[in-house]
């Protein structure tokens, strides 16, 4: 999936690699400093660089400067072009380009007509979208090169999960034209997960993560199974309605109406393209301010008819008028979980990524959908959360540093379908242990949707010592719904879940919730078919038994059990056929 067709890149030892997030609205570049990814600020000091190019008198501007030209020079400004790469004209959605240069059909691809040369009589040139991307990437690379003081040669670029091969090839070709070797294209949600997992304090465990990427023009949600640090995307949903611009739109409408109310007889600023551009720019700034503070001001000079306008808005009001968008995002996330065939109770973590994730209400809303134990990783809900705008670039930079020492051919081979496509076990595999009531309960060792080959080890206590039975079984989850019976305290022991602590948390939340929930939903493991039995004799009192289950790539199972600190043990193999 890497640079097929591109010219052979530099030697691994001579590479300088960065991670690039090439977004539809904003892009970022990141670099690894002392094993810690850092997002690089460009010459203007921006870490989120608007993916916009603008030409004024033959001078090229990019980023925030170009964005400002959307007001005065919209026809020579190209914005929101990333999604057009490798697509035909009839397949693109030009809605967002209304306020900037309009995309045109040119053969198999899309192009823009821009006056990119100085001089009055100079004819406007037609730039294919790939050329625009090349020019923009060149600016990003030069910004990184200036920052690092070394020529940047190679990069890992993030792409949405629904990029097809043609789009990938177009992006790689555009990068190659900008003299940039693409080491690998990685999908955005996984880059975000990697950014979190690479933190030194992060523990690698088996978990299900929902990555909500809330961008400017699109929202993508992916359900990722993280199994021992390996990621499998279980389901993705994409949405182009509920995204950052929808929130801008809400604010624009709000302030436009406010303006007209305050200035009776004044024209609607939304009628005029230039006024609309001013309105949009300021609305976006206000939206950002509302993510940080409870109040934000809005002021535009000469908004319409030469009348200056200034106003303020508080967060509550904003959240009320933007409710439809927020609810849309909720539904989007829920649909993704459903599409993956999971329940919200199965989700261990929700990662919010992308600029729109700064909005506190969105994070809070997601917190309400998911059970209490699910961690919502967004700035509003978790102080340790990484800046959601930087997640993807960080992930890309981490991946870039991991693979920069490999030959391009090695990377190709390692990302080949023969290596990446592997069977995933359908049911959990675990051992039987006893809960407080002496009942047999299932303890998962290998979680469902674990890619094989996989090896997992657990330490099970054997407080009484003596001879113990290790019964390896398959297990399934089902959602147990309990009608609440007031007065009767929830029977904790009935919860056949492993994490007692989490259980009690959940119970607490049930009671503390203001709205009385009608029912209590729990995830319960059901014991399935028995795979094997093994006996370990003469375990010391208070000892621990280490059970290791290795599932081979052909779905054969090797079970080993031994006493922790002891010698010998039991080992057995289950063939797959």
């Amino acid at each position: 999936m890497s640079d097929s067709g591109a010219k052979s890149g530099p030697e691994p030892s001579e590479r300088t690699t960065i991670g690039i997030t090439f977004g539809n609205s904003n892009s970022s570049i990141a670099y690894l400093v002392d094993d810690k990814p850092e997002v690089i600020a460009n010459e203007d000091g921006d870490r989120q660089i608007p993916t916009i190019l603008s030409y004024v008198d033959g001078e090229e501007y990019y980023g925030q400067q170009a964005k400002n030209f959307l007001v005065r020079n919209p026809q020579n400004t190209v914005a929101y072009f990333r999604d057009f790469l490798g697509k035909e004209f009839k397949a693109i959605d030009p809605t967002h380009n209304h306020a900037s240069s309009h995309p045109q059909e040119s053969g198999e691809t899309v192009s823009f007509t821009i006056k990119d040369k100085a001089g009055e009589e100079e004819a406007a040139s037609t730039l294919a979208v790939s050329e625009v991307a090349t020019r923009y990437l060149r600016r990003l690379v030069s910004a990184a090169t200036e920052y690092l003081g070394k020529k940047v040669t190679s990069a890992v670029i993030t792409i949405p999960t629904n990029f097809n091969d043609k789009q990938k090839a177009a992006l790689v070709a555009a990068a190659a034209a900008a003299d940039l070797e693409v080491l690998q294209l990685i999908s955005e949600p996984v880059a975000a997960v990697l950014a979190y997992d690479a933190r030194p304090e992060a523990k690698i465990e088996d978990k299900v993560i929902v990555v909500a990427e809330l961008g400017g023009t699109r929202s993508d949600v992916a359900v990722v199974a993280s199994r021992g640090g390996m990621y499998t995307v279980l389901a993705t949903v994409h949405d182009y309605e509920f995204a950052g611009v929808a929130l801008d739109k809400v604010l624009m409408d709000h302030f436009a109406k406010d303006f007209m109310k305050k200035n009776s007889g004044a024209a609607d600023p939304r009628e005029n393209a230039r006024n609309l551009a001013k309105l949009r720019l300021e609305a976006e700034a206000t939206k950002r301010a509302l993510s940080l503070g409870a109040n934000a001001s809005f002021s535009v000079e000469s908004l319409a008819d030469g009348i200056d306008f200034a106003s303020t808005i508080n967060r509550l009001r904003y959240e009320t008028i933007a409710r439809a968008v927020f609810e849309g995002l909720n539904r989007l996330v829920e649909s993704a979980v459903k599409k993956a065939g999971l329940d919200v109770l199965d989700v261990d973590e929700v990662i919010l990524s992308g600029g729109t994730s700064h909005t506190p209400r969105i994070a809070a809303n997601l917190g309400n959908i998911f059970p209490q134990k699910t961690r919502i990783l967004a700035p509003a809900t978790d102080v340790t959360a990484i800046n959601p705008s930087e997640l993807q670039a960080r992930g890309a930079a981490l991946q870039a540093s991991l693979i920069q020492d490999y030959e391009a051919e090695d990377i190709d081979q390692s990302t080949h379908a023969a290596v990446t496509t592997v069977p995933h076990v359908a049911n959990a595999i675990g051992v039987i242990s006893l809960n407080e009531a002496g009942e047999e309960v299932f303890v998962p060792v290998v979680q469902p949707e674990t890619a094989v080959p996989a090896r997992r080890t657990v330490h099970v206590s054997a407080p009484n010592g003596g001879d113990v039975l290790i019964k390896v079984v398959e297990g399934n989850t089902h959602i147990k719904v309990t009608k609440p019976e007031p007065k009767v305290k929830e029977d904790e022991s009935k919860a056949a879940k492993v994490e007692d602590a989490d259980d009690s948390d959940e119970d607490d939340s049930d009671f503390s919730d203001e709205e009385e929930e009608e029912e209590k939903r729990e995830k319960v493991w059901k014991i399935g078919s028995t795979l094997a039995e093994a006996a370990l004799k003469g375990v010391k009192k208070g000892g621990k038994v280490e059970v290791s289950i290795t599932v081979g790539s052909d779905l054969s199972v090797i079970v080993t059990a031994r006493e922790v600190g002891g010698k010998g043990g039991v080992r057995g193999t289950l063939t797959s056929a």
Binding site: L434, A532, T573
Partner: protein, 446 residues
Amino acid sequence: MEATVIPLPLPALPEGWEAENNFKAIGKITQEGATQRTLEPVGPYFLAHARRARHKRTFSEDDRIQAQERAKKVEDNDEGEISEPEDAMMLQRDAKDWKSQDHYKVLGLSKYRHKATEEQIKRAHRKKVLKHHPDKKAAAGRADDDNFFKCIQKATEVLLDPTKRRQFDSVDEEADVEPPTKKQLVKGNFYKLWSHVFKSEARFSKEHPVPTFGDDKSTKEDVENFYNFWYNFDSWRSFEYLDEDVPDDNENRDQKRHMERKNANARKKKKAEDNTRLRKLLDDCSAGDERIKRFRQEASAAKNKKRFEREAAEKQAAEDARLKKEAEEKAAKEAEEKAKTDREANKKAKDAAKNAVKKNKRVLRGSIKDANYFAEGDASAATIDSVLGDVELVQANIDPDEIAALAAKLNGLTVAGEIKGVWKEEVERLVAAGKLKEGEGKSLVA
């Protein structure tokens, strides 16, 4: 992944549970539900997976290989560590006396010396500073104890400045290797001992690489190359470091100039001394170098070889001639002797033949006499004469062999008829052979 700890206990083994090796395989993993999915090729754990998949390693194999690789890395990191015990005397040094201090030792780099890299120096400096910073001493209750710290700073200043470092290295006696003494050389190890000396001297070379001293097996070319290089050694060694202090500008200008001149002369002198030293070193070394002797011998041996060959050829030729002459002489002598014996033998044979002829003639005559001269009764003198005359005639006309044959025929015969018959036959034969004329010997025939 680390093992998860499950606090819930395992069930006890039921009564009567028996299985071979304490393991009973019962079921199989559900196959239908196992889906083929695509892993995201991202992150360190995926790379580990890809590594295992591509090299077909199992988990434990991969763990082992990775552990080995990690262990090696740690070792590499350790290599540059500076940990030398600090001499108590050194810690007492006065920073003002920096010229005489061993900068490498101060930084704990005495085993690297001129080989220490800049990075090693920087790291060593950092390490020493962390240990000896005056603030730390102050914290321990010893205020104003920054003497050794100053030493460290001075050492770093000298060693991190390439010019100053060269000046110091030039006079760094600790790095010198003394030439081996005769006593040492007696024990052997000639090549090893001298190569250490030249390795140490090589640090002053402007040209690199410096040819190595080699060993017993070095070729003639290498050895020549080595001595040529060293006899034309281009050294950067200089002796500014040992200069006496030049007074400041504000003091007497003449005094200053005098000092500068003095220093320049001292440097020149030391440099010349150093060159002489090196030359002597080389002379000593080459004098004891077995290789040179061997090569010289080999060379002279090659030169003499031709002469030897020519001489040998001459010698051979003379010998050959002598032998030939001897052989010839011997042959001549033999021939002479043979001729002599032959002559004597001939003479004897002739005498014998003569005697035989005489004897035969006597037989012939005797036979005639026995036959009574072919006469009946007493033979007349005339008859006797004619018969004897004919016998003489026959004898004269036949050769000794025939005389012998005739004598053999006649010998033993006493009957006159028989004798006559023989004579008649002989005369007829001689007439037939034309040796006798018709009519001659008729006395014998009649």
